[in-house]
C-alpha cells in the first residue's frame, strides 16, 4: 500500500533566510494586534463585565426580532443586544450590567421573563453580578501569567535560559496575535476564551519544545555547524511531524467547528486561529531563529569544517582528506 506522504523526505528549506521578513512582519502584526485591543477593544462577555445573557427559543415559528427588541426596550434596562443564535428561532439577549449591585441584576431577569412570557423557551440564563465579574477577570489574568511563569521555569530547568526566553517571546507573540484576532472578529471574550488562550499557549509551547528538543540534540551532535544551518536542519527534520500533527489537530478542531454547536463555536474558532495558523508559524519562524539573537551557540566554531559523530552514514570530513593527500 502506498502511504500518504505529505512532506517529502529530506527537505532542505532555508527557513532561516525568512527571519529578516518574519521578524518585522510579526512585530508589525503584534503592534497592530495591540492597537486593535486598545482602539477597537474586545467584545467582553458578561463573565468579565457583568450583566445578563438570556438565550430563548420561540415556540412557534422564527423569532420576530423587531417585536422582541421593542418589548425589551420598553423595560428600560439600559443597553441591550439581540442576536440570532444559530437558528432562526433562537435568540440571544444580552443586557448590560444594571446599576445597583447584585440584586438589581436578578430583578432585570425577572422583568424580561415576565415580558416575554410563555411564548418562548428559556434555553439559558446567565447572570453575573459585579462582584463576581471583577474576580473572574482578575483570576483569568492571573491564571495566564501564572501559566506562562510556570512553563518558563520548567523550560529553564530542562533547557538553557535562552530557550526558555525564546519560547516565552514566541508564545506571548501567539497570545497577542490571537487577542488581536478576537478583537478583529468581535468574538465574545469570556471564561472559555481564557481556556482557549491557555490551550493555545500549551499547544504552541508543545510545538516549540519539539523543535527545541531537536535543536538541543543537534547542538550536542554537530559541534561546528553554523547556527543558521543547524536550525534549518532541525526544523526540516521535524517538519513532517509538525505538518502531520497540525493537520490532525486541525481535523479535530474542524469537527468541533462544524458539529460542536454554537456554544463552543467561538472557542474552536479561536483555537483554530491560535494553534493551527499562528502556533505553527511561530515555532518555525520566530521561536527557532530568535535563538540566534539570544546568543545560543555564539561560542561555536562557526564556519569550521563539520565533524559529525554518529550516524556513520555521513561523508568523511573534507579537511582531513586534504591533509592526507
Amino acid at each position: 500500500m502506498r502511504l500518504l506522504r505529505i512532506v517529502p523526505d529530506d527537505t532542505k528549506f532555508d527557513f532561516m533566510r525568512f527571519r529578516r521578513i518574519s521578524f518585522p512582519v510579526s512585530a508589525l502584526l503584534s503592534i497592530a494586534a495591540i492597537a486593535l485591543y486598545f482602539f477597537h477593544g474586545l467584545n467582553f462577555g458578561i463573565d468579565f463585565v457583568g450583566g445578563t445573557l438570556i438565550e430563548v427559543q420561540t415556540k412557534a415559528g422564527p423569532a420576530d426580532l423587531a417585536k422582541m427588541r421593542s418589548t425589551i426596550g420598553g423595560l428600560k434596562l439600559g443597553d441591550f443586544q439581540l442576536q440570532e443564535f444559530g437558528a432562526a428561532n433562537d435568540v440571544l439577549i444580552r443586557i448590560s450590567e444594571q446599576p445597583g449591585g447584585d440584586e438589581a441584576q436578578q430583578a432585570a431577569v425577572a422583568k424580561v421573563r415576565e415580558a416575554l412570557g410563555e411564548e418562548v423557551d428559556y434555553r439559558r440564563v446567565e447572570v453575573v453580578g459585579p462582584s463576581v465579574s471583577t474576580e473572574l477577570l482578575a483570576y483569568g489574568t492571573i491564571g495566564l501569567v501564572l501559566a506562562i511563569g510556570a512553563i518558563l521555569i520548567y523550560l529553564w530547568f530542562r533547557f538553557e535560559w535562552q530557550f526558555a526566553l525564546g519560547a516565552m517571546i514566541a508564545n506571548v507573540h501567539d497570545l497577542v496575535l490571537t487577542v488581536g484576532f478576537m478583537s478583529l472578529t468581535h468574538i465574545d471574550f469570556d471564561l472559555t476564551s481564557i481556556a482557549a488562550l491557555l490551550t493555545i499557549l500549551g499547544y504552541s509551547l508543545n510545538d516549540t519544545v519539539v523543535i527545541y528538543d531537536r535543536i538541543r540534540e543537534m547542538l550536542r551532535r554537530y559541534k561546528r555547524m553554523s547556527m543558521p544551518d543547524l536550525l534549518n536542519v532541525s526544523i526540516n527534520a521535524t517538519l513532517s511531524r509538525s505538518i502531520v500533527t497540525h493537520l490532525t489537530v486541525a481535523i479535530s478542531l474542524l469537527a468541533l467547528l462544524l458539529f460542536g454547536g454554537q456554544a463552543i463555536h467561538s472557542f474552536t474558532a479561536t483555537m483554530m486561529f491560535g494553534v493551527v495558523l499562528v502556533g505553527t508559524y511561530t515555532s518555525v519562524f520566530i521561536a527557532s531563529p530568535i535563538l540566534i539573537y539570544l546568543g545560543v551557540g555564539s561560542n561555536r566554531m562557526e564556519g569550521a569544517a563539520e565533524e559529525p559523530e554518529p550516524p556513520a552514514a555521513a561523508a568523511t570530513p573534507p579537511q582531513r582528506a586534504r591533509t592526507r593527500r
Binding site: 528538543d213 500533527t245 460542536g260
Partner: protein, 530 residues
C-alpha cells in the same frame, strides 16, 4: 526499548484494562448502576450545561453580619456595666466599634477589666492563635471595643455554615432532586440543582432571611406622626402590606427560633390560606406570658422587617400554637411554612451569579458534542491510517484505548463532564496522535540515516519519548493552572485535558511500544512499513 519482561507486560495490560473497565458504568442507565455494589458505581457526572439545571452562587451579607455583631456587643456592654453598677454615658456603635464613656474616672480600670471579659482568645488551626475576638482600648474615660477582623471572618464562616444547613432544609422541602450545596471561599455558597428550568421560586425561597418576630405595636403615638417627627427610642417604623406603616417596639416577645412546626392551611371561617404554627415549650411560655399581660392590645407578626399582620390580642394564648393570616395565596402560605420550618438565615444572602441551562439546550449540546467527537475520531483514524498504514492502525488502537482510559479515570474521580470538557477530550485525541506521530517520524528518520529496521524502531522510540515527555509536561502545566484558577465549565475542560495528557503519556510509553514490540517479535521485519 523493545524488550519487555513478562510481569511488565502483565502490569501494563492490567492497568489499561482496569482503567478502561472503570468507564463501564457510564454505558448503563442510572437505575441499573444503582443496583451494583458501591465501589462499582462511580461514573462521570454530566455538568449542568449538558443535563440542564440551575447554578446559583450566593454571598452572605458581610455588612449585616458585622452590624449584628456590633449590636450584640453593644448589648453586652450594657449588661456588663449594669451588673457591675458602673455609671456610663454615650454608649453607641461608632464606625467599626462600640464606644462608651465612663462617668467616674475611678471606675475606668474596673470597667476595663469587666469589658475585657468580652474578649476571648480565638483558636487558630494550631491551638490558640494569639488573636482575641475584641480589642478593648481606653482613651481617658472613653472605652472603645472593636471586634477584630479575624473574629468577624470567623463569624462570617459560621454564618455560612448555618446558612448551608438552612438552605439544605429549604431546598429539600421544595422537593428538588439531588441538589448540591457547598461552601465557596469564605463567604459564598454554591447551590446547584440539576434539571431545574425556572429557578424563580428557588431564588425567592433562598433570598428570604425568614426572620420572624412577635413584637408589640407601640401605641404611644400614631405611626404617621412618628414618621414625621421621631419614633420613640425603643420603637421603629416598619412597612406593612401596601402603604400601611406601623410603629413597632424593638423588643421581641418571641422569635421564630422558638417555632417547632409550621404548616400551611385554610382559615375555617373565611377559607383564606393561612400558616399555622406551634412553639416549643419556652416559646409557648413566653408567648403565654406576653399575651396574658397585653389583652386588648395589638401585637405584630414581623417577617424580615415587614409587618405581615397586627392582630389585637383578644384573650391569652396559652396553648403554644397559633396561626398567621395576611393576604396569602396558597403558594405564598406554603412558602412561608417552608421558611419557618427551615429556620431563619443568620444573615441575608445575595445571588451574585446565576447560570441556568434548559434541558433542550443541554440535550442539543450533548448531541453536538457526540457528533463532533465521532466526526473528529473518524477523520483522524482515516488520516492516520492513510499516513502510516499498519503503524497508523497501531496508533488508532492506542488512541481508542486512550479515550476509554480517559473516561475510566474521569469515572474514578466522579468528575463532571461539561461541554468544554468534551472539547478537551477531542483535543486530547490530537495530543495522543501527536505522540505516535513523533515516534513514527523519528523511526522514519533513523531508517533514512541507515539503521536496520529493528534498530531504527528502537532508536525512534527512545529518542521520541524524551521529546514527548517534555512537550506534554508543558501542556500539562497549562492544564493544571487552568484547573487551579478555573471555575465551572473551564475547570471541566482542564480536567479532561489534564487527564487526557496523562493517559496519552501512558499509552505512548507503554501500549504503543508493546504493540510494536510484539509485531517485531512475530514478523521479524526487514523494513519498516512507514
Amino acid at each position: 526499548m523493545l524488550f519487555f519482561t513478562r510481569w511488565k507486560v502483565a502490569a501494563i495490560l492490567l492497568v489499561a484494562f482496569v482503567v478502561c473497565l472503570c468507564a463501564v458504568p457510564n454505558f448503563f442507565p442510572e437505575r441499573t448502576v444503582k443496583r451494583w455494589p458501591e465501589w462499582a458505581q462511580r461514573h462521570v457526572v454530566l455538568g449542568l450545561d449538558l443535563q440542564g439545571g440551575s447554578h446559583l452562587l450566593l454571598q452572605v451579607d458581610a455588612g449585616a453580619v458585622r452590624k449584628e455583631r456590633l449590636q450584640s456587643l453593644n448589648d453586652d456592654v450594657l449588661r456588663l456595666l449594669r451588673q457591675a453598677r458602673i455609671q456610663f454615658t454615650g454608649r453607641a456603635v461608632v464606625g467599626s466599634g462600640v464606644q462608651v464613656r465612663i462617668t467616674r474616672d475611678t471606675d475606668v480600670d474596673n470597667a476595663l477589666a469587666k469589658l475585657r471579659e468580652l474578649s476571648t482568645p480565638l483558636s487558630g488551626i494550631l491551638g490558640t492563635s494569639g488573636q482575641r475576638s475584641v480589642d478593648v482600648a481606653a482613651n481617658g474615660n472613653l472605652i472603645t471595643l472593636t471586634p477584630s477582623d479575624a473574629a468577624l471572618t470567623e463569624r462570617i464562616r459560621q454564618a455560612v455554615d448555618q446558612s448551608i444547613q438552612i438552605i439544605e432544609r429549604r431546598v429539600n422541602e421544595l422537593g428538588l432532586v439531588e441538589p448540591t450545596i457547598q461552601r465557596e471561599g469564605i463567604d459564598r455558597i454554591l447551590v446547584q440543582v440539576p434539571g431545574l428550568q425556572d429557578p424563580s421560586r428557588l431564588k425567592e425561597i433562598l433570598g428570604k432571611t425568614a426572620k420572624l418576630d412577635f413584637r408589640m405595636v407601640d401605641q404611644s403615638m400614631p405611626a404617621e406622626q412618628a414618621a414625621q417627627t421621631r419614633p420613640p427610642a425603643d420603637s421603629e417604623i416598619l412597612d406593612g402590606e401596601g402603604a400601611v406603616k406601623y410603629l413597632i417596639e424593638k423588643r421581641v416577645l418571641v422569635s421564630g427560633a422558638d417555632l417547632t412546626d409550621a404548616q400551611p392551611g385554610f382559615d375555617q371561617r373565611t377559607s383564606e390560606p393561612i400558616v399555622s404554627f406551634r412553639f416549643n415549650s419556652s416559646g409557648a411560655r413566653k408567648f403565654a406570658e406576653a399575651t396574658q399581660a397585653n389583652v386588648g392590645k395589638p401585637f405584630a407578626i414581623v417577617l424580615d422587617d415587614k409587618v405581615i399582620s397586627a392582630p389585637v390580642i383578644r384573650e391569652p394564648i396559652l396553648g403554644g400554637s397559633g396561626q398567621i393570616s395576611g393576604n396569602f395565596t396558597v403558594q405564598s402560605a406554603n412558602d412561608l411554612a417552608i421558611l419557618l420550618r427551615a429556620g431563619a438565615l443568620p444573615a441575608p444572602l445575595t445571588i451574585i451569579e446565576e447560570r441556568t441551562v434548559g434541558p433542550g439546550l443541554g440535550q442539543d449540546s450533548i448531541t453536538a458534542g457526540e457528533h463532533a467527537a465521532y466526526a473528529g475520531a473518524a477523520l483522524v483514524i482515516v488520516f492516520m491510517f492513510a499516513t502510516y498504514g499498519l503503524f497508523g492502525l497501531f496508533a488508532n488502537i492506542a488512541v481508542a484505548v486512550n479515550i476509554a482510559m480517559i473516561f475510566g479515570v474521569l469515572s474514578l474521580l466522579s468528575a463532571t463532564l461539561t461541554l468544554p470538557g468534551i472539547a478537551g477530550i477531542v483535543l486530547t485525541v490530537g495530543i495522543a496522535v501527536d505522540s505516535n506521530v513523533l515516534i513514527y517520524e523519528r523511526i522514519r528518520e533513523e531508517v533514512r540515516a541507515g539503521r536496520s529496521a529493528i534498530n531504527a524502531i528502537d532508536a525512534g522510540f527512545s529518542r521520541a519519548l524524551a521529546t514527548i515527555l517534555d512537550s506534554n509536561i508543558t501542556t500539562f502545566i497549562a492544564a493544571a493552572v487552568l484547573f487551579y484558577i478555573g471555575t465551572g465549565p473551564v475547570r471541566g475542560f482542564a480536567v479532561t485535558l489534564g487527564v487526557g495528557i496523562l493517559t496519552s503519556l501512558f499509552t505512548a510509553f507503554t501500549l504503543t511500544r508493546l504493540i510494536v514490540a510484539y509485531w517485531v517479535r512475530l514478523w521479524r521485519p526487514r523494513t519498516v512499513p512507514i
